[in-house]
């Protein structure tokens, strides 16, 4: 009998130990996957925050630019920069033939003419002088410099020719290649050229979409939750509504995209590819999440508080607005943030309403066409150029950073509210 008890005790201890072990290994696994994921993204993406510049001497020859003596600002705007731009690249190798000159030109971004122009507009006194100008390297050379380019492939399988590599290596040895923080990644809109592509358009698109989504979903959801929880009679009809809200939360997001396409675009003719339509579509998706969270936190407010307020002679409305709703706000807000975070990472519905279009302008309002961060990731991941690989990871990093900041913000708000109430 005694022995039997001891066995049972040992068994219990062992079972507890095993359970603890299972739990620990589960946590370890989760952390491992997370670490691998983050390591992969950071190791691929960090280089996108650096940009490679070629330092090329440019001679601002007034004759080549077709400028008169003492040119005005407008003259400088309208001047022809193509020839001096071309010449300064060709001058990198005085012995270059015509084909090679073409290859030299393609070592920098197609944007180089404008970079030279900006240099002169900043300092008109440069006319007739020579200055070393920073030109954006082409995306392939950028990758070469970052060590991401397979140089040992046979030449016919590479986009960079041996000749370009030779000149580039010369420039490197002469210290004429420099890597700087990639500001244009944050200030440029999308581009077909990897070296010029940035996230400004999709970032703004995401922000506008989220704002539209918040402004529609939050008030509607909170009012619906308050009504259902505090005022609505409990009957078949409200039960039916409740079941449907829960079902709505489980509807795949692409269905909402179809709804946006079929109703917002086809019937209401709202502007295509805009954060306005995207935000409305996302708000449909976020609505049930917020309603469920708000109802749960309203339910969590102890009934004794309601009774206290009612017994003081507060009306139902006053009880709700003065006591129940403020007490439920921290929970409601965290539910809202979770819903918005979901919406922020949503791709499928946005693709359907046309936010997948190539947008090379930065939207100034929710009515302008824009992409969004997850769609930008999708677009870039589809692109063939090597330069976009790191951009994908960098864009993911920005998206994750965005989410972390949102959660932090939610935590701070929660903390403030909770301090006030406890």
């Amino acid at each position: 009998m005694n022995k039997n008890k001891e066995q049972l005790l040992n068994k219990r201890y062992k079972a507890e130990q095993r359970f603890r072990l299972y739990g620990l290994s589960a946590i370890f696994m989760a952390l491992l996957f997370l670490t691998i994921f983050i390591f992969k993204i950071f190791s691929t993406g960090y280089s996108a925050f650096q940009k490679t510049w070629l330092i090329v001497p440019v001679t601002f020859d007034a004759e080549l630019m077709m400028l008169d003596q003492n040119p005005s600002k407008e003259d400088l705007q309208d001047a022809d920069y193509y020839d001096i731009a071309l010449k300064s690249m060709a001058d990198l190798d005085p012995n270059a033939n015509e084909d090679q000159e073409n290859e030299l030109k393609r070592m920098v971004s197609y944007f180089f003419e404008k970079e030279i122009k900006n240099e002169l507009l900043n300092d008109p006194n440069l006319i007739g002088k020579t200055k070393e100008v920073y030109l954006t390297a082409s995306d392939d050379l950028d990758q070469v410099f970052k060590g991401n380019y397979p140089r040992d492939l046979p030449e016919d399988q590479r986009r960079v020719s041996d000749y370009q590599l030779k000149i580039f290596d010369q420039l490197v040895t002469n210290g004429k290649v420099e890597s700087k923080f990639n500001i244009s990644f944050f200030t440029n809109a999308d581009s077909r050229e990897a070296e010029l592509a940035g996230i400004a358009s999709s970032f703004m698109g995401s922000i506008f979409s989220i704002l539209v989504c918040l402004m529609i979903a939050f008030p509607v959801a909170v009012l619906a939750a308050i009504y259902l929880e505090e005022f609505a009679p409990k009957n078949r009809f409200t039960d039916f509504i409740e079941v449907n809200i829960n079902n709505l939360a489980a509807v795949p997001s692409i269905v909402f995209g179809l709804l946006g396409l079929g109703v917002l675009l086809a019937i209401f003719h709202l502007p295509r590819s805009t954060p306005l339509v995207g935000g409305i579509t996302l708000s449909l998706m976020t609505l049930p999440t917020i309603i469920i969270a708000a109802r749960a936190s309203l339910k969590a407010v102890p009934p004794s508080i309601r009774e206290a307020a009612l017994a003081m002679g507060a009306s139902r409305m006053q009880t709700t607005m003065h006591h129940t709703v403020p007490l439920s706000m921290p929970g409601t807000l965290s539910g809202t943030i979770i819903g918005l975070a979901q919406a922020l990472g949503e791709t499928a519905p946005l693709i359907l309403i046309g936010m997948v279009a190539f947008v090379n302008t930065i939207p100034g309002s929710p009515m302008d066409p824009a992409a969004s961060l997850p769609v930008q990731i999708y677009i870039w991941a589809e692109s063939a150029e090597r330069g976009f690989v790191e951009k994908v990871s960098a864009c993911i990093m920005v998206l994750l950073g965005f989410l972390i900041i949102m959660n932090l913000f939610a935590q701070i708000i929660r903390h403030k509210f909770e301090k006030k109430w406890s």
Partner: protein, 251 residues
């Protein structure tokens, strides 16, 4: 003088009847205790008096309850005005999770009883003084009310209830969550409050009923078995059941 007159009150929870034909008169400026075993309907009856049963969807009340000769179950009765006149203190202390000051000033604010900050300060001070809490908390009026001890919280709830100067105060087992010292303080307070308010207290403790009340009603299985002066109920009850309950044979 009779303050509250209940006539043939029936209460139903759905189809189940919880109170049967209760008729009870309550004297002004006295303490009336309602005693009886758990589930006998004494709290239900108490909640009829300020229509708190309205909150429960399935609950329906029949019969007349006259307060100052006005039937509060009448359609023309506004519950907000009614509850302004009839305060309530609950079993578990339930201060709002706000500051002490906000707790006490809430009632006067929503009923528009103070014209200025000064007036409000006065109301808060007198209410807390009447609730015998002022000396303990006067330096921390702007700290949360939930930080007080259980007994202090209950006195805060009493201060909150009397802040709107109600004519009647309903107390639903106000001491059941408190220790003996806090209970003694509250009982002393009840004795003081009856000078200005009519008090009805539901209690499980017969000793408490004997200590604080002038009148007692004994409930059993949804019926008012007997009511009368506390002296009579405790010393010489008419009904055998009352006798058995008082002497501890059941309940």
């Amino acid at each position: 003088m009779i303050k509250i007159k209940a006539k043939d009150v029936d209460v139903f929870y759905g189809k189940k009847q919880a109170l049967f034909n209760i008729s009870l008169d309550i004297e002004e400026n006295q303490v009336t205790a309602l005693i009886g075993p758990s589930g006998c309907g004494k709290s239900t009856f108490l909640r009829c008096l300020n229509r708190m049963n309205d909150v429960i969807d399935i609950c329906s009340v029949k019969g007349e309850i006259l307060i100052n000769d006005f039937n509060i179950n009448d359609k023309s009765c506004d519950v907000v005005r009614l509850r302004e006149k009839i305060g309530m203190v609950f079993q578990k202390p339930n201060p709002f999770p706000k500051t002490l000051y906000e707790n006490v000033s809430y009632g006067p604010t929503i009923h528009g009883m103070a014209q200025s900050k000064q007036e409000m300060d006065e109301i808060v001070e007198t209410s807390l003084k009447k609730a015998a809490l002022w000396e303990e908390v006067k330096d921390r009026l702007h700290e949360p009310g939930t930080g007080l001890s259980g007994g202090q919280q209950q006195r805060l709830c009493i201060a909150r209830a009397i802040s709107v100067r109600p004519e009647v105060i309903l107390m639903d087992e106000p001491c059941s969550a408190l220790d003996p010292i806090a209970t003694a303080q509250i009982e002393e307070l009840i004795d003081e409050l009856k000078k200005e308010h009519t008090i009805i207290i539901v209690t499980h403790s017969m000793a408490q009923a004997a200590r604080v009340s002038q009148n007692t009603g004994f409930f059993h299985l949804g019926q008012l078995i007997e009511h009368g002066s506390t002296d009579k109920i405790f010393k010489n009850p008419d009904n055998k059941k009352t006798q058995d309950y008082i002497t501890g044979r059941f309940g």
